[in-house]
C-alpha cells in the first residue's frame, strides 16, 4: 500500500495531479472558501512519479463532472477519484468545458466585462490543450497564466 500523505477518507472526491502550488486555486474554482462546510485537506508539493504535484481531498462530497472540468483551466492533467468505502470507485481525467462563465476575468482592462455593469465574464474555450480562452465580449484571448485571472 502506497503511503498516503493525508489520512484516508471514507467517501468524497480526491483531485490528484494538480500542478504544484495550484491547489488553492482549484478550491477557488470549486467555490470552496473560508465559510464552506466541507472538510477539505490539501497537500502541496508532494513528489509523485512525475515530479511535484498538489492533491486536494474533499470529504463526503462527490462533485459533479461539469463542476470539476472547470479546474482543467489551471490543472489540465488533474485526475478525479471518487471514493466510497475507502476505495476509488470512479476515476477520470478532467477535460476543459466548451464555455467558462463566472470563473475567469477578462485580461483586457478596457473590456466591458471589467466595469461595474451587471455582467458575468464569459469565455469561449477556443482550444483545449493548451487552453485558449476568448472573451465573448471583447474577443481578447487568454493563452497563458489563466490562474492570474481567476475571479
Amino acid at each position: 500500500m502506497k503511503e498516503l500523505k493525508v489520512k484516508r477518507i471514507e467517501s468524497g472526491t480526491v483531485i490528484d495531479h494538480i500542478p504544484p502550488g495550484q491547489a488553492p486555486n482549484v478550491l477557488k474554482i470549486l467555490g470552496i472558501r473560508g465559510g464552506s462546510k466541507e472538510v477539505v485537506s490539501m497537500v502541496m508539493n508532494v513528489v509523485g512519479k512525475t515530479g511535484k504535484k498538489d492533491i486536494v481531498k474533499i470529504e463526503n462530497r462527490e462533485l459533479a463532472e461539469d463542476e470539476l472540468d472547470q479546474i482543467a483551466l489551471i490543472a489540465p492533467n488533474a485526475t478525479i477519484n471518487i471514493i466510497r468505502d475507502y476505495e476509488v470507485v470512479e476515476k477520470y481525467k478532467v477535460t476543459p468545458p466548451d464555455f467558462v462563465e463566472g470563473v475567469v476575468k477578462c485580461s483586457n482592462p478596457n473590456c466591458i466585462s471589467n466595469t461595474n455593469e451587471p455582467i458575468v465574464p464569459k469565455f469561449l474555450v477556443e482550444r483545449k490543450k493548451p487552453v485558449v480562452l476568448r472573451c465573448m465580449y471583447c474577443e481578447r484571448k487568454i493563452t497563458e497564466d489563466i490562474a492570474k485571472y481567476l475571479m
Binding site: 483586457n108 478596457n110 473590456c111 466591458i112 466585462s113 466595469t115 461595474n116 455593469e117 451587471p118 455582467i119 472573451c135 465573448m136 465580449y137 471583447c138 474577443e139 481578447r140 484571448k141
Partner: protein
C-alpha cells in the same frame, strides 16, 4: 457579418445614394432613433443623423456622457432598458470593448454598434467597403494599409472584411505599430493574401487602393522617434505619382499630417468621398433594420 449580408447592404446603399445627395425621402418617416454617444464623435454621429433626417426620421440622444442625464452613475444596462422604451432603434458609441454586445442583451429594439472602444466599428468598415466598390474594385482588390496597424481599430475590422473578398493586402507600418500577429494569422486562414513591409515605396506601384491611417503621438514615449516615424509614413504628391493613375487614396479621417494637403486636389484622393459614403451606407443599415427593405 457574412459576405452575402455585406453585399446586400452595399446594394441597398447604392439605391439610397440619391437621398444621401439631397433628395428628401420618407422611408424612415415616423421612426425615432436614440443616439447614445458615450464618447465624442463627429463623423459617425453626424452621418447617422444625416442618414436619418434625409429619410424623414428623427433622432434623440446625447453626444457625450457629460451632456446626458445618464451621467449620474446609471449603468449602461439600465440606460439601454429605459431608452428601449422610447426609440425604434438605438445607435451606441461606447469606449469599452464589447459594450455593444452587452447592451444588445438589454435592448428590446435593434441596436447598432457605432464603435466600441478598440473593438468593432462595423458601419465604418461597411463604408470603407462601399468606397472600394464604388471608386475602385472590391473583389480581389490590392490594397495597402499604411500607418498605425496595431492600435487602429478601423484597419482590424477592415482586413477581416477584406479577407471575404480575396483581397491582396499589403501591410505597411513601422515595426512597433505592425498588425497584431493573431489578426494576420486569422485573415490568412480566411483566404487573404498578406505582405508586410515597412515602406510605402515598396508597394505603391502595385496597389489599387492606399488606406492611410493616423499615427498617434501617445504611441511613442520619445517625441523625436514619433517625428521620424510620422515623416516616413506621409503621403505626398511625389510619392503618389509613382502609383497607377487609377489608384485611390482612402483615410477614415480625421487626418493630421499623414496626407499632404496638396494630395487633396489629385483625382486619386477619395477620402472626402469616402466620408460622404457613410451616409448612404448608414441609411441602408437603418432601413434594413427597420424592415423598410427585406
Amino acid at each position: 457579418m457574412s459576405k452575402e449580408e455585406i453585399d446586400y447592404i452595399l446594394k441597398v446603399a447604392e439605391k439610397l445614394e440619391p437621398y444621401a445627395r439631397g433628395v428628401q425621402g420618407d422611408l424612415l418617416s415616423g421612426k425615432l432613433f436614440a443616439m447614445l454617444f458615450y464618447e465624442p464623435s463627429t463623423r459617425t454621429r453626424l452621418s447617422f443623423e444625416t442618414a436619418t433626417k434625409r429619410l424623414g426620421g428623427d433622432v434623440i440622444g446625447f453626444s457625450s456622457p457629460e451632456s446626458s442625464s445618464f451621467s449620474k452613475g446609471e449603468s449602461l444596462a439600465d440606460t439601454i432598458r429605459v431608452v428601449s422604451g422610447y426609440a425604434d432603434a438605438i445607435i451606441l458609441r461606447h469606449p469599452k470593448e464589447g459594450a455593444a454586445l452587452f447592451a444588445s442583451q438589454y435592448s428590446t429594439v435593434p441596436l447598432i454598434n457605432a464603435g466600441d472602444g478598440a473593438g468593432h466599428h462595423p458601419t465604418q468598415t461597411l463604408l470603407d467597403l462601399y468606397t472600394l466598390h464604388k471608386e475602385s474594385t472590391l473583389e480581389g482588390v490590392k490594397i495597402a494599409l499604411v500607418g498605425d496597424l496595431k492600435y487602429g481599430r478601423t484597419v482590424h475590422s477592415l482586413v477581416y472584411a477584406l479577407s471575404l473578398y480575396n483581397a491582396k493586402i499589403f501591410l505597411v507600418s513601422p515595426p512597433e505599430l505592425s498588425m497584431p500577429s493573431h489578426v494576420v494569422s486569422d485573415i490568412l486562414e480566411r483566404g487573404a493574401t498578406v505582405h508586410e513591409t515597412t515602406s510605402i515605396e515598396d508597394v505603391i506601384e502595385e496597389v489599387d487602393a492606399i488606406y492611410m491611417t493616423r499615427i498617434q503621438k501617445e504611441r511613442f514615449p520619445d517625441p523625436s522617434e514619433y517625428q521620424r516615424v510620422v515623416g516616413s509614413y506621409r503621403l505626398t504628391q511625389e510619392l503618389l505619382k509613382m502609383a497607377k493613375p487609377t489608384t485611390i487614396v482612402m483615410h477614415p479621417l480625421p487626418r493630421v499630417d499623414e496626407i499632404d494637403p496638396a494630395v487633396d486636389n489629385m483625382p486619386n484622393a477619395k477620402y472626402f468621398q469616402q466620408s460622404f459614403y457613410g451616409v448612404p451606407v448608414r441609411m441602408a443599415v437603418l432601413c434594413i433594420l427597420m424592415g423598410v427593405f427585406d
